[in-house]
Amino acid sequence: MKLRLSPQPLEWIDRKNPLTFTFEGKEVTGFAGDVASSALWSEGSKVLGRSFKYHRRRGLLSFANHDVNALFQAPDMPNVRGDVTPVQEGQMFTAVNTFGSLASDKGSLVELIGKFLPVGFYYRAFYSPKFLFPKWERLIREMAGLGKVDTSWTESRQPKRYRHCDVAIIGAGPSGMAAAIAAAEQGVDVCLIDENPYIGGSLDYQYVNEEALSETRSSLKSTIESMANIQVIASAYVAGYYGDHWLAVNTDQGLIKLSAQSVVVATGVFEQPAVFRNNDLPGVMNASAAQRLMSRYAVAPCKEAVILTANPEGYRAALDMHKNGLVVKAILDTGSTDSEWVEQARQSGIPVFEHATIVEASGRKALQAVTFSVDGVAKQLACDGLLMSVGWAPAGAPLYQAGTKFAYSHTLEQLLPVSLPEGVYACGRINGVFDILDQFKDGEQAGLAAALYMQGKETPELNDYAAQMAHSHPYPIWQHPKGKEFVDFDEDIQFKDLKGAIAQGFDNIELMKRFSTIGMGPSQGKHSNMNGIRILAKLTGKTIDQTGSTTARPMFHPTPVSHLAGMRFRPERLTPMHAFHQSVNACFMEAGNWLRPEYYPSEASREASIAAEVAAVRGSVGLIDVSTLGKLEVFGKDAVELMDRLYTMRMSNMAIGASRYALMVDDSGVVIDDGVAVRYSDEHFYVTTTTSSSDSAYRMIQKKVIEWGLQVTVLNRTGQIGAMNLAGPNSRKILSQLTDLDLSNEGFPYLVMRRAKVAGVDATLIRVGFVGELGYEIHVDSMDALQVWDELMRVGEAFSIKPFGVEAQRMLRLEKGHIIVGQDTDGLTNPFEANMPWSVHFKKPYFLGKPSLMKLKNEQQRILVGFELLSADRNAMPLESNLLIEDGEMIGRVTSIGRSAALGKVIGLAMISIDYSKPDGELHIKLSDGRLVKAKVVKTPFYDPDGLLQKPDEEVHNKEQGAAA
């Protein structure tokens, strides 16, 4: 193991537990606790991936969950992040986006023609001649993309958890830990979230060799562990802050949806790379990456290092290297730092060059030398590592998403939060606090304030602990005449690309991003946005604040679909009679979330079975389960008023015990629902809705009740009540055996409701005629429904009763010319167009949609008519939605069609231009293949036009039609 160090005081690896995995087909040995990148690096494998565009060799850069150049392909996962993914025995990884292999990537030929591929090159070419574009696009698509998807991968889902807490603290570094303790001491419930497996943050990698802090460290950690009201959620990051302190916390085990009362953001800062020639050579990395590599995994970043720094943190990293017995050839200080640090470095034998300028890094496959200049004199040092410590950018996503404003501090050369939303606090380095002891204090005050805030107590004034010196270089960009200064490592964006974009007018931060694609890769600009802003500000002569920043949107890190989706919950609703339907092998169809029998396979074919069901209803008796209908109970002082306002027909003059067709339109007069209403008492109605609109109608009615200020209660009883329709000439004979109710025409006339016991069960019975025969809709408690159904089937046996499904009902109602809302009506159909002018009672002072209907009544353009097919060709059967054509123009469409056995012809409904609606008028239906077939307009109902069968042995005195869908 070439670069593995001796044991480190806080290392995360378990040296007793070695394991082996493969990378690019080669065996790699590491320890449990290693991440893929650390294990590879420990063996001296510094080329971890190829870059996105030029396929340049890339190694570690930030080692902080955004090393997008070290993305690996696993057999069951694309884009695995090497810098954070713990290795497991036997795992197999390859590099993503290579052509050939990582070692020999044909994609690197792109770099040879890089001159021809400047920023936005793809906007410049490939479109002419047009017919070649698909070929070019295919090539470009193949070159883009990272990992590969195997479409045979199976579904994976992780359950979600819900958590409430008083104070959520994001980030368990020095200030976050202090904040957690301070908040918890107030007795509140604290969640401390950190993306690493252990708390500690920079305290453990930047200050690992600081003896003076070891006691503080252990005391902080043991206090947190001992406090029952602090829950540490480790290996977890806040993917998004979603308003009202609602956090999506992603963990290895799935998403936690965390609702907090206040939030402390202690996420710290992202170290930003320096931009100079060949800054992407493997071996060039952020100083904090090197510190994490050493302290967590006991892996040396290199053997001989040069440090490029603009702050004390660089010196600290140099001393850490030195302490581990590694050679630090020089510290290149871009300015001049506190003499104390320079002194310490020199005492350790490290040469310090102040006011140094980096010229370039060089090396064939990895870093071999660094060229820099001091006082205009160029020097070169051989080395295999260059650690960059030139500045920081806020890890501010949760703050930005919460609505925090940031402003640039020239003292710190860093963006700082300046106005925090209520209940949101920030502390630590994101606040510009760099002194470790001040970080504890800043954390304490933020934690205390967050706890007091959520308790509704007054919060103290917060002290400003921000550093009084810059920890970031104001412009860590060193151009080179030969270029290759990389700003965005995800997208291979060089300095010249941004310069080119800006020069072409993309000189707004958002436009520059969109044209150059800076910040659009998987790391979403974590290491590139700040330098991008600095470059844009410099080249346009603006300040950082004037330049602004792009929006930090969720996700903070790319978040697995399997976690966001969670478990699969799909409601499935079964009617009380479902067991019966299953027992006779009903063929089910989905109706919203309901399962309904489409038909019962009693014959050889679907068609024959449906025909048999239709014949049973017409000839003797049938029974259909209509439990899926929406069922609402309306009661209270204003029940009548509500019913009158909701439905187009007058409901206030219904006698107690009467039923009436209930048609509902919206504000613009469009038909949205129908059903049957019955009146139980003066202030009590019961009304059905269509299956599909039961929920939406209920919601809408609730809204209207509030809007209109009515004293009325509406209950949605859809699931509590089972319903069935017993229909056919013999229905009365069957029902009479199961009830004491007087079923004579006088005792229980057509369109009347009765409440009585049926098969020993309390029932509401309505005499309706949707299918056009003598029939009873029977509503009972859903617990009793199956019993009533079974009894009706048992008694009906003597009459060869048949259960019938949705398809038979469709045919039966079509023969009667009854509409199905949503099939025979569309998004604009009003009742006049639906050919139901009788259903609109304008004499009411108001009902929903009345003003619109008053106007629409006189402007009717189209109408729903019945038609019968004149062609007998069975191979020329139109389908629903086929168009009607006259003189080459569309004049309408077929909304329903079917072959009626009772009538011996094909009948249907069509919504057509009113000009063509005269009875017996010829129509032409255009089949899907373009052929025209002839039909003629006929009056509806097609079957039993006078409705005699619905009211046997009864005089026809009531013209009102009854229907229920």
């Binding site: 906007y123 044209f515 939605s881």
Partner: protein
């Protein structure tokens, strides 16, 4: 290596002419002021200059070019609408899109992928057939296809949808395409600018001034500008503009959200939409899956993202594409959709002389960019609505002459 790139390489990219002009002072007066520097505004300016010779035009944009819904949509272009008015209008748009790269001398990555709208219910099948029949009647390439045909094109899709609401068929629209949305706005902007149009970013209109019922100019945060013709093309910000003139519209603003996965190598060529599952998805040329759903359930004038959206979308996505559970969502965002009751746009003249409105673009604005720009330019130049947009006038709501695109315009239905 295309010749254009070789030629281009001789120059440095920073020596290329600017797409958009540098900031400069506003003039005192323009013939036409266009509010909104998105695709529609830029296209209108472009066609005003190119086809009507009107170049004394200012486009005022409160943010940056294409920063509103132009840059937030999921870039699908199609013409398989439900009404004759809609089909003719969007078909013209599609034809214009096909030639835009050449017109602009800029590749907008107009990529014809084929577009499946899946049906999971009987009633959806009827709607698909209705759309197909209307489309075919107007010569649009649209067809209802069965499950086997879908399987051939999208073999990796789970037709059973995990056992619930299985796919029964689809409306297939071969010309369905995706394009690089930003480039469309940039191309129009550059073309307009080259012809003399002024583009002013970070310039917010604060009021519209009228005299005797006629527009006389606009007040901005950079001062007053005289103009006899003012065009509003601001999508989700429309209510803020129409309020200035007391113009009533039935527009309601609903957020529409979208998200992308991390980029992966190309595997999905077609565009797949499921209304029942509230999912639409395509793979961008960068390799990201670009995904959207229906609009948010409640009105809101904001572009904030919600967790519910991404939870719901990913959950439903997996019913169709189980393997996507191994992908990661990289970024989500939202736009403000200006939705009309009939899901069709509002275009043309208004009761205020000199004020033209282009709004109500809901979730279907990007695909109309070229045709809306072209027909609005005609309308402004001639002070007379273009034939194609007559059905979309604002007064149709008071006249009850709605267009009825609900069944085809949005995924939500």
């Amino acid at each position: 290596m295309p010749l254009r790139l070789v030629k281009y390489a001789w120059k440095k990219s920073e020596d290329e002419p600017r797409f958009f002009p540098d900031e400069k002072p506003l003039k005192k007066a323009y013939d036409v002021v266009i509010i909104g520097g998105g695709g529609h505004g830029m296209a209108c300016a472009y066609y005003l200059a190119k086809e009507h010779g009107i170049t004394n035009v200012a486009v005022l944009e409160q943010g940056y070019i294409g920063g509103g819904n132009t840059g937030r949509n999921t870039t699908i272009v199609r013409s398989n609408y439900l009404t004759s008015e809609g089909v003719k209008f969007y078909d013209e748009s599609l034809k214009l899109f096909e030639d835009l790269s050449d017109d602009f001398d800029l590749n907008i990555f107009y990529s014809t992928r084929g577009h499946f709208t899946l049906a999971h219910t009987d009633s959806a099948m009827r709607t698909m057939r209705w759309r197909a029949e209307v489309n075919k009647h107007h010569g649009i390439d649209s067809e209802v296809v069965d499950v086997d045909t879908i399987k051939k094109e999208v073999p990796y899709m789970d037709m059973s949808c995990n056992g619930q609401h299985p796919v029964m068929g689809a409306l297939y629209h071969a010309p369905g395409s995706v394009a690089r949305h930003d480039a469309v706005a940039w191309g129009y902007a550059r073309g307009a600018q080259m012809r003399g149009v002024e583009i002013h970013q970070k310039t917010r209109v604060t009021d519209i001034k009228t005299k005797g019922g006629k527009v006389v100019g606009v007040e901005t945060d950079r001062g007053f500008i005289e103009a006899k013709k003012v065009v509003s093309m601001v999508a989700g910000s429309t209510p803020r503009i129409t309020e200035m003139l007391d113009i009533e519209t039935p527009i309601e603003i609903f957020p529409l959200q979208a998200c992308v996965t991390e980029p992966v190598k190309p595997f999905m060529d077609t565009i797949v939409v499921s209304g029942s599952l509230h999912v639409y998805v395509s793979q961008s040329s960068r390799g990201e899956l670009v995904m959207g759903a229906s609009v948010d359930p409640a009105e809101l004038h904001s572009t904030r993202s919600t967790l519910d959206f991404v939870e719901g979308l990913t959950d439903q996505m997996m019913d169709l594409f189980p393997f996507t559970s191994r992908l990661k969502i990289m970024r989500q965002w939202a736009g403000m959709s200006d939705i009309t009751p009939d899901f069709a746009p509002i275009m043309g003249k208004t009761d205020v002389e000199g004020f033209y409105l282009d709004a109500g673009w809901g979730t279907w604005g990007f695909k109309a960019t070229p045709v809306s720009g072209k027909t609005m330019a005609y309308t402004v130049a001639n002070d007379m609505p273009h034939e194609l947009i007559k059905p979309f006038s604002l007064d149709r709501y008071s006249k009850f002459e709605l267009v009825g695109e609900k069944g085809a315009a949005s995924v939500g239905h």
